[in-house]
């Protein structure tokens, strides 16, 4: 097979991305290996698994994964595949259970992943070594302040090393939350016929499309729809005025952040943001004390899109966590989880849930617009000539602003810095020879034993 030339596919100097990266099955196969089999991937949040026996099912790339809290309270993650013949051992999306039983021949596993029952075992096997046939654990499982991540690479850097500077921004959501963060309910799930990279870079950095692609929704929801303001997030509907926001797009090693830096505009799209704004102001002094002035005053409460490479967006303001699961080169699933601060009054939590539903649920007023161009970009790349063309993300190149937090900041919400950061990181990851190169480091000569720096009781199985 001809070696793929990633420098040709993503040209950082000129901010060009060849459109075959949205269509070529050979590139997609490499993505499953280089990205989804090596990077740390978000599995869920500990608040989803409070009790022994609680489990959720998710995906790491296209791999079906069960995350379960065992009888010993330890959280583990396993491939959802019977070790006998490979049928799924769990078909529910979550719940509470004592065991996972395969529907093919009835092999049964406990919540610690051990093979606990084999029908007719004594009669048909001579000394079946049950220990050999436990569910296959995901190689690494670690938590960063409640966010559970898994990784298939034994030799990958630790989660905290992988997150690097983005942890400083995740802290605003995780430590800023009164009583901790809470992910309640099941996620919304939608299947869209497009390439997985397009919704990722759209959500982490495309401020340019907001006023135009979402013009219909922008006119009827939030600050504009309720005549509180003539702009949303500093930009006007239909792009009739220039970006007036104080926002910055920040590119770090591996990850990206877009934040509006005004401490409250995250709630600009809410029809009735008052309860949330009241909570913010009540909690702000605590956040400033914990995280300092810059994060407490300027980031907490701002519309903030934390992009964790490759496929996660933690979005403060809109207040949801989103995971994009690839399903082949031309298809993906969007999973959207509402997130709240645990100690918020129930009524305030309901305002947030209602807002997630209204804006970016499957019938969301804004969500409905994005799937369309994502599909068209993907499917037009079926054309050989079109596939040779290159997309251009040159906006704001070379524009810098002084920034006291981690990463390099570029001014404005209407900017393409985060999207360039994402494709540069994509190229680095596709070219990497090992998991350390993904984060721009050299792999240690002797592999470091996996550790769990944040939450001791979470160990890989």
């Amino acid at each position: 097979m001809k070696k793929i030339d990633y420098q040709e596919l993503v040209d950082s100097e000129q901010a060009l991305q060849k459109r075959s990266i949205f269509w070529d099955p050979a590139i997609y196969e490499e993505e499953l290996k280089q990205i989804f089999n090596r990077c740390w991937l978000l599995l869920g949040h500990e608040s989803q698994l409070p009790q022994a026996g609680d489990f959720i099912r998710t995906y790491m790339g296209e791999d079906d994964v069960i995350v379960v809290r065992g009888k010993d309270k330890v959280i583990r993650a396993f491939l959802n595949a019977c070790t006998h013949r490979g049928n799924k051992v769990c078909q529910a999306e979550g719940g509470n259970t004592r065991s996972f039983t395969c529907s093919y021949h009835g092999w049964s596993y406990n919540t610690e992943g051990e093979l606990a029952g084999v029908p007719l075992e004594k009669e048909i096997y001579d000394n079946l070594d049950r220990e050999r046939f436990g569910l296959v654990p995901v190689a690494r499982l670690e938590s960063y302040k409640g966010f559970l991540f898994g990784c298939f690479s034994e030799s990958a850097p630790s989660l905290i090393e992988y997150l690097g500077d983005i942890a400083w921004y995740i802290d605003v959501v995780a430590d800023g939350a009164q009583g901790g963060l809470e992910v309640v309910g099941a996620p919304y799930k939608t299947e869209i016929p497009g390439n997985w990279k397009l919704p990722v870079e759209n959500a982490i950095g495309d401020g340019y499309h907001v006023a135009w692609a979402h013009a219909g929704a922008m006119s009827v929801v939030g600050a504009l729809g309720n005549s509180r303001s003539d702009n949303v997030l500093g930009i006007s509907a239909n792009n009739t005025g220039v970006d007036q926001s104080a926002a910055v797009e920040i590119v770090m090693n591996t990850h990206t952040v877009l934040t509006t830096l005004d401490g409250q505009s995250g709630y600009a799209l809410y029809d009735h943001p008052e309860p949330v704004l009241a909570h913010l102001e009540k909690n702000r002094a605590n956040v400033i004390e914990k995280l300092g002035e810059l994060r407490g005053r300027k980031i907490y409460g701002s519309e903030t899109h934390i992009g964790v490479f490759p496929n996660v967006q933690i979005i403060q303001g809109l207040n949801f966590i989103r995971i994009i699961h690839p399903k082949g080169p031309g298809k993906f699933e969007v999973w959207t989880y509402a997130m709240c601060e645990r100690d918020m009054p129930e009524a305030t939590k309901e305002v947030i849930h209602g807002h997630v539903r209204q804006t970016f649920g499957p019938a969301g007023l804004l969500e409905g617009d994005d799937g369309d161009f994502v599909e068209a970009i993907t499917h037009s790349a079926a054309g050989y000539a079109t596939r040779q063309l290159k997309g251009f993300l040159g906006m704001g190149m070379g524009r810098k602003v002084p920034w006291d937090g981690p990463g390099e900041a570029s001014p404005g919400l209407v900017n393409e810095a985060c999207q360039r950061g994402f494709y540069d990181q994509w190229r680095r990851t596709m070219e990497a020879d090992n998991a350390y190169e993904i984060i721009g480091q050299i792999a240690p000569a002797t592999p470091v034993a996996p550790v769990t720096p944040v939450l001791r009781e979470v160990r890989h199985g």
Binding site: Q48, A186, Y188, D369, D372
Partner: protein, 180 residues
């Protein structure tokens, strides 16, 4: 839930004429939506309407509601203002994917009517299929059932409550910006 309440025959049957009128009303409503006459559709709703589309979460049958953190979520949970807002978005002329025009087709069938404890209110169950066609081949379809409370008012029948149950867990469509 719907199935728990379902009896082999209506508990409180209504007259043939009433049932016929309700069937005609639902067909008319479907046509008003197919023809994108959203302001007129809003007139068919009561001001106190509750319109919900719950997500059918895939848990094992043995899992009791509330036994896990998988709490019910809704794709839509709107009162009249929320529905009006959705209709207003459609009318802005700024929803680009509806131009060229989107074609809509709703089939409403298996209509069952029961009287309720409230005079002038009827419990109406129906099944639906909805097809949406755009451009050359961008066709989506959804199937499910509805439980409505229809209220007889001086202006005619009005929808006072609607719960829409879709059979798909993962929404197999770019969006559900439509009324069921």
């Amino acid at each position: 839930m719907a199935n728990a309440e379902l009896k082999l025959a209506p508990v409180a049957p209504v007259s043939f004429d009433q049932e016929y009128a309700i069937g005609k009303f639902l067909s008319m409503e479907a046509r008003v939506l197919d023809e994108e006459r959203y302001p007129e559709w809003l007139e068919l709703l009561t001001e106190d309407i509750r319109y919900q589309i719950p997500v059918a979460i895939n848990t094992y049958r043995r899992t009791r509601p509330g036994a896990t953190t998988l709490k019910p979520i809704f794709i839509i949970d709107d009162g009249f203002p929320g529905l009006k807002q959705r209709a207003a978005r459609e009318a802005t002329g700024l929803v680009w994917l509806n131009d060229p025009a989107t074609q809509h087709l709703r089939i409403i069938t298996n209509v069952e009517v029961e009287a309720t404890d409230t005079p002038d209110e009827f419990l109406v169950r129906s099944k639906f299929m909805i097809f949406r066609g755009r451009r050359d081949k961008d066709i989506a379809s959804h199937a499910g059932w509805r439980e409505d409370i229809l209220r007889q008012t001086p202006q005619g029948l009005r929808i006072a409550r609607r719960t829409v149950h879709l059979i798909e867990r993962v929404v197999m469509d770019k969006n559900l910006n439509m009324f069921f």
